[in-house]
């Protein structure tokens, strides 16, 4: 079977222990206002368009089946509404003006690329991490990738928002060595406002994984003006204290780096990037959470 992958990143050192390869799956049911991977939200391939790189070779103008590429007043314009993401323009665009984000890959193709760095995993206690997007929303593909990884003896991590049917977590639990589980907002109303979905199922899945003995790292993006409230920081610590299988908390100070990617895929960006956390803010958040729990709190 095939899945929709938008990146495979080698020498990942922030997505689990050791040196890892992170496979990013496309598609996510959440719409977090601060998402730093906006190209990961939709399942379908999307064209990333950078007109400043165009060298006017003319290929896409002539070959786009939808005639979505046009020259207006010597400016290369992409008619986004006409674009269906077929990627034909990107096939022969060597300047990088047109790049298709997201491609279908088979399980074997993905795993064989992951296996290329096996020697590095062995020496560092690393392995494969699945991320995205939300890997659980391509559940079958995720499950097969994990199975194949395990068949090769790889250590596996899964980065997840936790927003998926509990039954699915039951099915793959044994194939995952560490869950990197997001905890984004503790207030239910704010959770729906900021992420687009309700938090109940997420909390239920977190508790369930913990109950069943899965090892969990709690990943907490802190976004100035949104969730950088003492009450939320306290709730992070509370979860770490209540759930014994949470062995680490990662506090991830928000940074507006996703803005560049949004522009490329023609998506409007919601976050006010003037709210840039300073070093003192970051230290404060980490220190505050650490002060309320014995579970190690790190900067993610």
């Amino acid at each position: 079977m095939q899945g929709m992958v938008f990146d495979i990143q080698k020498f990942s050192i922030h997505d689990g222990p050791g040196i890892r390869t992170t496979v990013f799956l496309k598609g996510c049911p959440l719409r977090c206002q601060w998402c730093h991977n906006p190209e990961s939200l939709k399942r379908k391939p999307q064209l990333s368009f950078a007109p400043e790189k165009c060298i006017r070779c003319g290929w896409c103008f002539a070959n786009c089946p939808q005639q979505a590429h046009v020259l207006i007043n010597d400016e290369h314009v992409l008619l986004r509404d006409a674009c269906v993401g077929c990627g034909k323009c990107a096939e022969k665009c060597y300047s990088g003006a047109n790049t298709l984000i997201g491609r279908k890959m088979s399980v074997d193709a993905v795993v064989s690329e992951v296996l290329a760095d096996t020697a590095f995993y062995e020496s560092s206690g690393g392995g494969m991490t699945l991320s995205g997007g939300e890997p659980m929303s391509q559940f079958q593909f995720t499950r097969l990738l994990l199975q194949e990884a395990k068949r090769h003896g790889l250590h596996t991590c899964l980065e997840t928002s936790g927003f998926a049917p509990t039954e699915r977590f039951h099915q793959i639990r044994d194939l995952v060595d560490i869950f990197l589980f997001d905890y984004k907002e503790s207030d239910p109303a704010k959770h729906r406002e900021f992420t687009g979905v309700a938090q109940e199922i997420i909390l239920r899945n977190l508790a369930e994984l913990d109950r069943l003995g899965s090892r969990i790292i709690l990943r907490c993006p802190i976004v100035p003006g949104y969730n950088d409230r003492p009450s939320h920081l306290r709730e992070i610590a509370n979860h770490a204290n209540r759930l014994p299988n949470i062995f680490e908390v990662h506090v991830m100070p928000y940074h507006p780096l996703g803005k560049s990617k949004s522009a490329g895929i023609g998506q409007e960006y919601l976050i006010d990037e003037s709210r840039f956390p300073g070093q003192a803010d970051e230290n404060n958040w980490i220190g505050t959470v650490q002060g309320m729990t014995r579970v190690p709190v790190r900067r993610g």
Binding site: I13, I19, A116, D117, F120, S124, R219, S260
Partner: protein, 724 residues
């Protein structure tokens, strides 16, 4: 004398608690020694009495005169003797020496490029290859000096004179003159109050300080005798000095004093010669025991504190290295400076064994200069013996026996076909041309070597390189081993080019080979689409089997060709060593079929062409490992760049260490680790095409820096400036 804190526990703890007020000790002392050495050499050389001597005696006498007349002095606060130069002379002397130097520089500049990079670029353009000769770059038998003293060595040479023929007797007596000159020079410092200089280096050393004093005096004189002081290396310094260190510790000499001695040596090393001399740290003995000792730790600590470029810390890494020691070697303060140079203990041995060093001997090997692997005390290694430009034979193959621009000063027999059916045929023809050019290069080099050995002998250095025949020059059979490295530029570019040809001409068939050649000769003018198509083909450094296979095959077959030029007297060793000259040499070379434009740098060492790796350091390493590096007994460095702040985080530093160990375990020879910093970020803003792979980590995720919007990049830089 400094802010040390001493803990009276013995061993590593003690070293750990020493704090050195080192930065304050690094004075900016100007000695201007080169002007004196040059002036005094010229003066002695023009004396008819000197010219009448045999070449060996002439050199020995010039050497002696320099040492006896060069102004010497004391630097306050330093315990080691051995400072010299124009600055210590009187006003009259200074005026003469400086004027002579200025004159010399003007003449040299008028004769052509004086900087090696410019010179290599010119040779690339004019001749397409270079047969050369490198001075200095050596690791003599310091252990012998410390054990026997120069008088002990003189006794050996005198004994050899009894049974030597006339020629060797002449040379042996010249060696004795040179050694005595160093003893007399040392006496000059004794007169200034350095009592140890009455004993060393004439006699064996009896303490750590004496040993270091002896080492310094003997070491710095090599630059004088060799007529050049590039890359004067120290060999297994933490091994041969260790018995003296250990004896002093046992006698109760305070750790602080020993640290001061090491500091004084490092200060001298930075004041004279260049920053390319290697100091080996650690290794494994013949029984498999880890050799990283307290002196190794002390040297690292001193250099970490001083933050100085010399010496190159050659860290010998093996699976059994202690974690504490590996942490010491990957201290952020070192990594940020591009120190140390990491070497795979066992992978390097593999290369030496492949070169023909005996299994029983190989554990004694040393890193020499910035990338060489040699047998210290027994080898003269001509580290830029030849320079080979790999794109040349490729151009000849693709362009019917003609280079893309200009002509060659020689004719070749190989005939390039008018057209090719496959890249295999292109590679065969390329290597056939390479073979012929290498024959010309090495033949020329042998001739240069012979002339150098006969006309410019160095009896001083030759007395300190052993194992061959006593009384022969270092170039003519004195040392046990004589090697010359053929430094090779552009292999990766050639591999990228052939991979591009394969894709564009043979697979996609979108262009003919002829079209590509014409476009490249025209520097891709009006052909940007074609150039980008070449750029889109697989590139080395991304763990792509298609191009890695090509690089591996070219490299192996080329290495064999270089080795085949050796004979029992002189071994030619291949290397893709470029230093930073890939910039200047590429600067003088036309466009190539990998999509490189005219004047753009070549790839550096065995790394990807700048701007072409997109898959992180493990992929860069994987590509480099596809090449059989055992064949590169001339040494082979790979440069990797890690994100800013990585080594400051212990967990991530451990991952870097794991990557380094893996690289060596899989056969890599040498790694240069560069921690990206603010300067690199700024350069990446200005020249994004150079850094497609530069990753930064901030606020919860990693991003390719060059993909960020300018305002975000600026903000990121500000944060780094504030944070680091």
């Amino acid at each position: 004398m400094n802010d040390s804190v001493i803990d009276n526990k013995a061993g590593v703890d003690e070293i750990a608690t020493i704090t050195l007020s080192a930065p304050g000790r690094m004075k900016n002392v100007l000695t201007d020694y080169k002007s004196s050495v040059h002036y005094l050499r010229d003066r002695a050389s023009s004396d008819p009495e000197v010219r009448a001597l045999s070449p060996a005696h002439r050199e020995a006498e010039i050497f002696r005169r320099i040492l006896m007349t060069i102004p010497v002095g004391i630097i306050e606060g330093e315990s080691l003797a051995g400072d010299y130069g124009t600055s210590f002379g009187d006003a009259g002397y200074r005026a003469i020496a400086e004027a002579a130097e200025a004159n010399k520089k003007t003449k040299a500049a008028a004769a052509g490029p004086t900087e090696l990079g410019g010179f290599l670029a010119l040779q690339a353009q004019q001749n397409g290859y270079l047969a050369f000769f490198t001075r200095a770059h050596t690791s003599p038998a310091y252990d012998l000096v410390l054990e026997k003293g120069l008088n002990g060595i003189i006794a050996e040479l005198e004994a050899a004179m009894a049974t030597a023929d006339d020629e060797r007797r002449d040379y042996l007596s010249a060696e004795i003159v040179a050694l005595r000159a160093v003893i007399a020079w040392s006496g000059r410092f004794a007169e200034l109050g350095f009592d140890e200089c009455r004993r060393v280096p004439a006699e064996p050393a009896h303490s750590f300080h004496e040993a270091v004093q002896s080492l310094w005096l003997v070491h710095t004189c090599i630059g004088v005798a060799e007529r050049g002081d590039g890359s004067l290396s120290l060999g297994r310094i933490d091994q041969y000095l260790y018995p003296f260190y250990e004896a002093d510790r046992a006698r109760g000499v305070p750790a602080e004093d020993l640290a001061d001695t090491v500091t004084d040596l490092v200060l001298k090393l930075n004041r004279y010669a260049d920053a390319s001399g290697a100091a080996n740290l650690g290794g494994v003995d013949a029984q498999g025991n880890d050799l990283f000792n307290d002196l190794s730790r002390l040297i690292v600590k001193v250099c970490t504190g001083l933050q100085v470029p010399a010496p190159i810390l050659a860290a010998r890494i093996h699976p059994g290295i202690r974690q504490d020691d590996f942490d010491l070697l990957t201290d952020p303060r070192l990594i940020r400076m591009g120190q140390p140079s990491f070497y795979g203990e066992f992978s390097c041995r593999g290369a030496l064994l492949a070169r023909g060093i005996a299994e029983a001997d190989v554990h004694r090997w040393a890193v020499n200069s910035c990338m060489g692997m040699i047998m210290p005390g027994e080898e003269f290694s001509d580290m830029w013996g030849g320079v080979f430009y790999f794109l040349l034979p490729l151009e000849l193959a693709l362009n019917r026996g003609r280079r893309f621009h200009g002509t060659l000063p020689f004719e070749l027999k190989t005939v390039a076909p008018d057209d090719y059916a496959s890249t295999a045929e292109i590679m065969d023809t390329t290597l056939a041309y390479a073979k012929e050019i290498l024959a010309i290069l090495t033949q020329r080099h042998r001739a240069i070597n012979q002339v150098q050995g006969e006309s410019n002998p160095d009896p001083y250095l030759s007395a300190l390189l052993r194992g061959g025949t006593l009384g022969r020059d270092r170039l003519l059979g004195g040392p046990r081993y004589h090697t010359a490295v053929v430094d090779t530029f552009g292999l990766v570019n050639a591999a990228d080019a052939i991979a591009a040809i394969d894709r564009v001409v043979f697979q996609q068939r979108s262009h003919t080979l002829q079209e590509l050649v014409v476009a490249a000769i025209g520097d891709f003018a009006g052909q940007e689409a074609l150039r980008l198509e070449l750029m889109a083909a697989p590139k080395f450094g991304n763990a792509d089997a298609a191009v890695d296979r090509i690089a591996a095959e070219l490299a192996s077959r080329y290495a064999a060709l270089v080795r085949a030029c050796s004979d029992d007297k002189l071994a030619y060793l291949p290397s893709f060593h470029t230093l930073n000259y890939h910039v200047s040499v590429g600067g003088s070379w036309g466009a190539s079929l990998d999509g490189r434009r005219r004047g753009e740098p070549f790839a550096k060492n065995i790394g990807p062409m700048q701007g072409r790796n997109r898959k992180g350091i493990t992929s860069v390493m994987s590509s480099a490992l596809a090449v059989d590096q055992k064949a590169f007994c001339g040494g082979q460095a790979l440069d990797i760049y890690v994100e800013p702040g990585l080594v400051d985080r212990p967990a991530d530093r451990a991952k870097l260490q794991a990557a380094v160990q893996t690289y060596f375990r899989m056969g890599g020879l040498q790694l240069q680790v560069n921690g990206a910093d603010v300067r690199i970020l700024k350069d990446a803003m200005a020249h994004p095409e150079k850094y497609p792979d530069l990753t930064i980590r901030i606020g919860g995720f990693s991003a390719r820096f060059v993909s960020l919007l300018p305002e975000v990049q600026r903000e990121t830089i500000k944060r780094f400036e504030a944070g680091t």
